[in-house]
Symmetry: C2
Subunit: 416 residues, 2 copies
């Protein structure tokens, strides 16, 4: 393989590279790092720490667990969901249960009635409303199912039955949205036979290439952050990640959380991330991006190879797709939209992965953790907190306790 991920871009990225300021901006990144050190870059899980997880996986095999139900939300689910999409997208062996939705409860009940299940409860703080509510619901209907816990605060979930034998720890400084490289991401992946050792090894190597001490000229994560920094200093207010591999759409949800929660911190920051699905959204959002306000960066993501899952399409039916493979069609579609947007003076970039293997994906996750942190440093914000989510939690608590809360909205009209 000549490369892993190849980054290409149109003139907007080129013009804005402005490496003249590279030293000044690198200093800014170092200053940010000193103020808000990147715990993910040191506290990620090492292969040497896998033994307890392997023991757990063996225990589940002995219990003959057919399905693992992961109860968790946000940083406690999105990394695992992204990996599941790559490993075992369509099966019910691994199920993530996020919000307390009645339709999801139906699905969970269906599975728990038919299969031998185990439950993995993931909550960094131990106090997550949705997670505790879902566990309570599950126990009502399916008592006695083996439970395991992942948390940074074992004391906070002692009341749930967490103890030193059934509980796995997330390093305290490792934020939820970075916790894919902890038991949070690795335990679900291990349950569906992902090669977590290869994943963590590749993460470790990638991290060494992109960490803070590597200067801009040799550090493509820093270079990428500078590109984004410059583009958002111009008139752009959002970034659309056009994901052409269906397997990567859930990686996109992970990235949106990483980006939005790490970077959405100051009124002058207008850089909303969104996922656009290729080719599906060519029939939806494309019209808007071609002809409405030009305020988005367009980053295309695809893979060169789907391995043995790819197929050639026969020429039985008339069409330009005949004798092409699915991946060739997806690529041609992606390239055509890149060209069409570029011709309309939109900033266009492309990330081409060589494949979706453990090694490639570990680098891909690691890359964005670094890029997002560096971009936060350039904007002189702390990329590792999320102070804006507290207000809602406090109001929700009051509402559930029946305390008086003024309604934010007043009735305007009924549709009938």
């Amino acid at each position: 393989m000549s490369h892993e991920v190849r980054f290409s871009a149109n003139k907007f990225w080129m013009n804005w590279q402005s490496m003249g300021r590279a030293q000044e901006l690198d200093a800014l990144m170092h200053a940010g790092f000193r103020k808000w050190p990147a715990a993910f870059s040191t506290d990620y899980m090492k292969t040497s720490e896998l033994a307890p997880l392997e023991k757990w996986a063996a225990e589940l095999r002995q219990l003959d667990a057919q399905t693992l139900i992961v109860i968790g939300i946000g940083g406690s689910s999105l990394g695992g969901i992204a990996l599941k999409a790559l490993i075992d997208a369509h099966s019910d062996r691994l199920i993530f249960w996020e919000g307390p939705h009645p339709s999801k409860m139906q699905k969970i009940a269906q599975i728990a009635e038919q299969k031998q299940t185990a439950v993995l409860v993931v909550s960094k703080s131990g106090t997550t409303l949705e997670t505790r509510a879902n566990l309570s619901l599950f126990r009502q209907f399916f008592p006695g199912v083996p439970e395991y816990f992942v948390t940074s605060e074992p004391a906070a979930i002692k009341d749930l039955g967490a103890n030193s034998k059934n509980t796995f720890l997330i390093p305290k400084d490792l934020g939820g949205r970075f916790s894919i490289v902890s038991p949070v991401g690795m335990m679900p992946a291990m349950f569906v036979d992902y090669n977590v050792k290869a994943f963590l090894t590749a993460f470790d190597e990638a991290n060494a290439e992109w960490e803070i001490s590597i200067p801009v000229a040799e550090n493509v994560a820093k270079q990428t952050a500078i590109h984004f920094y410059n583009l958002f200093a111009a008139r752009f207010t959002g970034v659309a990640f056009w994901v052409y591999a269906a397997d990567l759409v859930d990686w996109g949800r992970w990235l949106v959380q990483l980006w939005a929660e790490s970077l959405g911190k100051k009124p002058h920051i207008a850089a909303l991330p969104m996922i656009v699905q290729g080719p599906e959204d060519q029939h939806s959002l494309l019209q808007y991006f071609m002809e409405a306000s030009n305020r988005h960066l367009h980053c295309f993501v695809h893979t060169q190879s789907y391995g043995s899952r790819d197929s050639l399409i026969s020429s039985e039916i008339r069409g330009d797709f005949a004798d092409k493979s699915m991946s060739q069609i997806l690529n041609a579609q992606m390239k055509s939209i890149e060209s069409a947007l570029s011709a309309k003076e939109r900033p266009v970039a492309e990330y081409m992965l060589s494949d979706l293997s453990e090694t490639e994906m570990a680098r891909w996750f690691c890359f964005w953790m670094h890029v997002v942190s560096y971009l936060g440093y350039l904007w002189e914000i702390n990329p590792f907190d999320q102070p804006g989510v507290e207000a809602g939690k406090i109001i929700c608590k009051k509402l559930l306790r029946g305390e008086n809360v003024e309604e934010a909205v007043q009735p305007v009209f009924d549709l009938r």
Copy 2:
């Protein structure tokens, strides 16, 4: 039930109502309608036209078809997908196949190997690349499966084997993104026993309440369009639909297409729609919306009732959720985020559906078709075309034919 959908809002919507200009704006809507008549408002399917579809459904029962594979993309899939989520979210009885993704092909093959299937090929133009490619793939691996077709151009799919017996027509003037009220939406729904008669009856009634001849003062669809028109004339550049019912997330994908493809037409229009999932994205996008740039309208959507699927959560586990139902928790979460955003001077509105029944949902789809068209008229654009998607199609054709196309992007660096 005292109402169907209740619309509530905070001061931003109130202040901007500006009904003083109502007559002037109504005149603008009438002018738009004369130029670009709303075909969906006359050409939607009537209950009197259901007989051929009922005959088809009976035929599929006779064939003992266990799964219907719908091959279609964009307007040919999104309406059906939205209905499926309401009817039968987790089963494999109804499968939509949009882009030519290898992972989806795997899933389709799994099903076709295990079940008696039938195929519904949906393409308004008959020339859709993805749809023809997927059908070709399917035939290679699973020849002889019964096929049915839905199109506006039967001549264009004669080569696929479409004939007067197996083909159902979409009215020519009814755009793809409005075609849920045609065989496109009704045939898949009928296959999973949806009450399409109730749906079409309610659509018909709702349409009469909101069509162009009903003046602004009595027409909540026109009022809503005016609200949006005024808010987007201020500093806002996007609208976030916070969907708290998991069953409605696919309705959201439908709305995004309807909105983006109908309204994304001029450089001065900055009104990008997006779906935010509640409560999941409280752990993701919320931080951004609370503290970053204040440029979005926030529209919350939920239902008062999930019927028998709702459950009370016991008090076995300590927490504020104890003795509350799932819907009460979701509602408290939604209300708390409305309050938190409103306190930060964000425009907040709420649409509370009474339930997710056929009647309620038909009105809900109909409402947005009218709102989006009226908003297009106010912006003096044609809401019913999509000229911006052609350029990409032409380039894609060239690429697949091996013709020379200049690359839009140039390699910048490799990640290794």
